[in-house]
């Protein structure tokens, strides 16, 4: 009997290991999709330039008003011209891009953390816990989010970047929590969770070590797509004047100069580069996100 048992074909251990990690599958998918790879390279380049150059830039010099060169069009000295205060647009563009991206990332990570925690708890424990959490999330769904963010921004005392991130995160975690909850709900019905319970593994460990790794691809996809969305919302709010405070210029700040019809019509160098940069970054991140989404769904993989 024993001999018969051990004789079965078993995986050879020494054979070359195929990579099975979520990240390596995702990487393969991006490399397969030339456009996504291009998007990744382009985004990488933009980020390297933005973060690299902003280290070298003297921010004080950029924000210093220079009345001798107000609204000057692009020239050798100011590659992208200057604004109403004679400040260099290119420098503002780079600092703005850095701030927009960093803050978008912070909001994404914070909402990710909140959404993940809440979603995992609601989905794993179910029952009354789930009920209460879902009631709260349902309530958030009926809120006119944009307006409330604007109101909060207006009434926040000593308003600064951290407040902004907190206010945004307060309203934007619910979508993620819902997604994670529904996936956790499905996952906890699987026997490996029951098995862990019977093996004496504590609940928190099951949530983190067993369930969470199985959600990793969904989380990565969701965070990527969210990053693009958050950069959009941030710059949009800043455009309206209710986003980042003036001490922290964002891409939205540059675009907001276009509220002046004269700037919009005649001084394209002030607002157009920032608009296009937002557009390019969003397109890149979204494209990467879509490729990751395909990687997460085995049926849609390219290879």
């Amino acid at each position: 009997m024993k001999a018969e048992l051990t004789d079965q074909k078993q995986p050879k251990v020494k054979k070359q290991k195929k990579q099975h990690g979520v990240l390596s599958i995702m990487w393969r998918e991006i490399v397969k999709d030339k456009l996504a790879l291009g998007a990744l390279i382009l985004l990488g380049l933009i980020l390297i330039i933005v973060y690299g150059v902003s280290l070298l830039l003297d921010q004080d010099k950029i924000v210093t008003v220079d009345f001798l060169s107000i609204y000057s069009p692009p020239s050798a000295e100011h590659w992208l011209g200057t604004d109403y205060g004679g400040r260099d647009i290119l420098g503002q563009l780079i600092i703005g891009a850095k701030n927009s991206f960093t803050i978008g990332l912070c909001i994404t990570l914070l909402t990710g953390l909140i959404g993940l925690t809440v979603g995992l708890i609601a989905g794993y424990f179910g029952g009354r816990t789930d009920n209460i959490i879902m009631r709260i999330i349902d309530f958030f769904l009926i809120l006119p989010t944009l307006m409330l963010i604007i109101v909060f921004v207006t009434i926040a005392p000593k308003y600064n970047v951290f407040y902004f991130i907190l206010i945004m995160s307060l309203f934007l975690w619910t979508g993620k929590a819902r997604l994670i909850r529904s996936k956790t709900l499905a996952e906890r019905e699987l026997d490996y969770v029951s098995a862990s319970k019977t093996l004496g593994t504590p609940d928190w460990k099951i949530i983190i070590r067993e369930v969470l790794p199985n959600l990793s691809s969904i989380i990565i996809v969701n965070l990527t797509l969210n990053l693009a969305g958050n950069i959009g919302i941030e710059s949009g709010l800043t455009y309206l004047g209710f986003g980042l405070p003036e001490s922290t210029p964002s891409l939205g700040t540059l675009v907001s100069y276009a509220t002046n019809p004269d700037v919009l019509e005649n001084k394209w160098w002030i607002w157009l580069p920032a608009s296009l940069l937002i557009l390019v970054m969003m397109l890149c991140i979204n494209y990467i996100g879509q490729a990751l989404k395909r990687a997460a769904d085995a049926r849609q993989r390219l290879g």
Binding site: F139, L143, L146, I150, L240, I285, N286
Partner: protein, 322 residues
């Protein structure tokens, strides 16, 4: 079905109540009420009259009294006075409301007009060049933030090409009620509505396209083909009917996203509606207007989701069980 709607409405009531408390507290928390602001600008206003005026308006009453008064007013359709404009908030909002409703309706209609044909083409002729164009279009519009897109549209069609007016909802020189007046209104509407519509087509196109692709290979469609039904009839009689119905359910959610969108659209196109009123009011600290607008938007969001849930449950009975 009726039970489902009733229960759904019942759930709404506590939500509405909490929303009203939240908004009331926010209004109270707003720094610098409008009266204090007048202290500097209005020479007739001194600290004493200000104090008396505040007392008269009940600004020193306990919060719950103020809340009760506010709710009572709300239920009577009285949203308070705009302190800046010295007019009832209701009439201030009513004046702008129709512009926003008009814009919203135009956005919705245009977005369906664009999305449904594109979704059908993409679903029916999958992987043709037309489908690939549509998928590309979807990527583009999904990634583009509304305010950037609207700004670019305004720049290109409003300023560079000069095809459309760049601000306002109607030419003030034309007489109210004439044919020219309505044409002017329409002319002012096209650009903002188109900007809003194009950006909001993504979900509908994607849903429709996927749905048609999925339905195409279902057994009942194969049966229809096997019976010898012509290809075009397979689509019109069997596939579209199944795929188009759920689209109706997006209506409510679209209304929800329109509320946020109108703030951007109206601010960019200088279109006098609710969104613009909200922005100017909040900058002028005219909080009775802000409060009323947030409450109305909350109500609209609530009704929007309710509408979608009801349509969805009418179309798909499985949802009601939940």
């Amino acid at each position: 079905m009726l039970k489902f709607i009733l229960r759904r409405i019942l759930v709404m009531i506590p939500q509405l109540f909490i929303l009203s408390i939240l908004i009331f507290l926010l209004a109270k928390a707003m720094p610098g009420d409008a009266l204090t602001g007048q202290l500097a600008s209005n020479p007739k206003m001194d600290a004493q009259t200000l104090h008396e005026l505040k007392q008269k308006l009940g600004m020193y009453d306990p919060y719950y009294v103020q809340y009760a008064r506010w709710i009572k007013g709300l239920l009577h359709g009285n949203l308070g006075m705009s302190i800046i404009h010295q007019t009832p908030v209701t009439s201030l909002i009513a004046g702008k409301m129709w512009n926003t409703v008009l814009l919203g309706a135009a956005v919705l209609i245009l977005s369906y007009l664009i999305a449904i044909p594109l979704g059908i083409i993409g679903g029916r002729w999958t992987d043709t060049w037309a489908d690939k164009m549509i998928v590309g279009y979807n990527y583009l519009t999904y990634a583009t933030p509304l305010f950037i897109f609207a700004l670019l549209m305004l720049f290109i069609f409003g300023f560079v090409l000069g095809w459309f007016p760049t601000s306002g909802s109607v030419d003030i020189r034309v007489e109210n009620g004439t044919f020219a007046y309505y044409m002017s209104k329409l002319n002012h509407l096209i650009l903002p509505a188109l900007s809003g519509a194009i950006v909001s087509t993504t979900v509908t196109i994607q849903y429709l396209r996927n749905e048609i692709i999925d339905t195409k290979i279902k057994d009942f469609v194969k049966t229809a083909r096997a019976k010898g039904v012509s290809e075009s009839k397979v689509y019109t009689r069997h596939i579209f009917r199944n795929s188009l119905l759920p689209i109706a359910a997006f209506l409510g959610y679209d209304i929800v996203s329109l509320i946020g969108g109108s703030v951007f659209l109206e601010s960019i196109y200088g279109y006098p509606g609710i969104g613009q009123l909200f922005l100017t009011s909040i900058m002028q600290r005219d909080f009775s207007v802000v409060t009323a607008l947030v409450m109305i938007s909350g109500l609209a969001t609530l009704i929007g989701t309710l509408l979608s849930d009801i349509i969805l449950s009418a179309v798909d009975p499985r949802i009601r069980i939940e």
